[in-house]
């Protein structure tokens, strides 16, 4: 066999290979100083490549992100509570109805908003429009909100991949799905909603949210993950509210 043929065998050789298979090659190396030198250089270079491969950047939040995704998945697949348990809710529902008559309107609206937003995490609506064209998505959203297509400056770096229209606390709203972060969505409600800056019931479904208003619309960043991950994402995207 010629040296060139042995060279192609050297490319297939790996440390720890069965010696009986490699014997002809090793015999050749013992008798051909040129090939032996070439093989020594190749092995050194190969080892250097192997060493370079061993350096991988740290990803400290990866495990938490995976578990957050799994928690959401498990939540969706969890069997629903039996209907009979809902009977226990009857007194609560009755109290709430009584509350309406006693003038708890604003408080109820807040609670209703919380519930509806929480539902979005466990049952997000399927996108009515999928598109990578930002202009098209924003124009579509503006139509659903009956207003202009602009976004506030803190959302200038965010890109979307799909949108759906819905109602939140009787107001027109759109849910925009982020393009590069599967766990994040932006809910835009066509009204200025007052209340605390945290939607408490949302946290019971392993999600986080951040809510702010530009005076005309309310923006809610919905995030399927921890508060810490959400803030890391907001920082990365320059969303300062």
């Amino acid at each position: 066999m010629s040296c060139e043929v042995y060279k192609s065998e050297m490319y297939a050789w790996r440390p720890g290979d069965d010696l009986s298979d490699s014997k002809p090659l090793l015999d050749h190396l013992a008798t051909c100083p040129e090939c032996a030198e070439w093989f020594a250089n190749f092995s050194a270079s190969d080892e250097r490549i192997r060493q370079t491969f061993s350096v991988v950047p740290e990803s400290p939040s990866l495990e938490a992100k995976i578990f957050a995704g799994l928690a959401y998945e498990r939540l969706q697949r969890a069997p629903r509570k039996s209907i009979w348990r809902n009977w226990f809710l009857l007194p609560i529902v009755a109290s709430l109805l009584l509350g309406v008559t006693l003038g708890f309107g604003p408080w109820l609206q807040e609670a209703r908003l919380s519930r509806q937003v929480a539902t979005l995490l466990s049952q997000p609506p399927s996108a009515e429009i999928n598109s990578n064209d930002q202009k098209q998505l924003l124009a579509w959203s503006a139509g659903a909100l009956s207003g202009d297509a602009g976004l506030p400056p803190e959302l200038s770096r965010v890109e979307f991949r799909g949108a759906s229209s819905l109602k939140v606390a009787s107001h027109n709203a759109v849910l925009l799905k982020m393009k590069n972060e599967q766990r994040a969505s932006l809910l835009i409600i066509d009204a200025r909603l007052t209340g605390e800056n945290t939607i408490k019931s949302f946290h019971e479904t392993a999600g986080s949210d951040s809510r702010w208003s530009d005076g005309r619309r309310t923006y809610v960043l919905l995030f399927q993950g921890s508060e810490q991950d959400m803030h890391a994402y907001m920082y990365q995207m320059g969303i300062v509210t």
């Binding site: 192609s8 490319y11 297939a12 790996r14 190749f42 270079s45 190969d46 250097r48 490549i49 192997r50 060493q51 370079t52 491969f53 061993s54 350096v55 991988v56 950047p57 990803s59 990866l62 495990e63 992100k65 995976i66 578990f67 995704g69 799994l70 998945e73 498990r74 990578n132 590069n180 599967q182």
Partner: protein, 173 residues
Amino acid sequence: MQITDQMFNDWVRQHQRFLFGIAYWWTGSRTDAEELTQEAFLQAYRSRSSLRDVELVKGWLVGILRHCHSQMRRRTKSREEVSFDEMLYEPESRPTLSADALALHQSLEKLEERHRLPVVLFYFQDLSYREIAEALELPIGTVMSRLARARQQLHGLMKAPTKLVLMKKAESL
């Protein structure tokens, strides 16, 4: 066999670094690698009943990672491609890359797609030909010939550093 949530959680802890490393060298981007690893574990969880033998979990995960990578490529096909030279100026990667790592990333980027993953599995995980063949669902002979060809190309590419690698080497002197 029944795979409990606890078992699956243990696999996440044991193998996330392994899968992330493969995805990192395969895609050349930490962000893509994170996304790919998350998606792979999610899909693995959904299809956990398809695992025949828990001893083969690593190869099974690599198979799912491959599948997710194809989906990701299809999704981003329309997106304009960014070369690795441009990616270097992402703040995430600039300070950490050595000249060797940079040369390796650039060389991997130039390898044919069908050669890239076998090379990553061979060097990064030091998997045997048989293990690579199982993970890629290919005959062992095909894996051996692809790897020999890929290693030849990789060594050739690594010997010819780009301007950027030379600059990086000069910086480190």
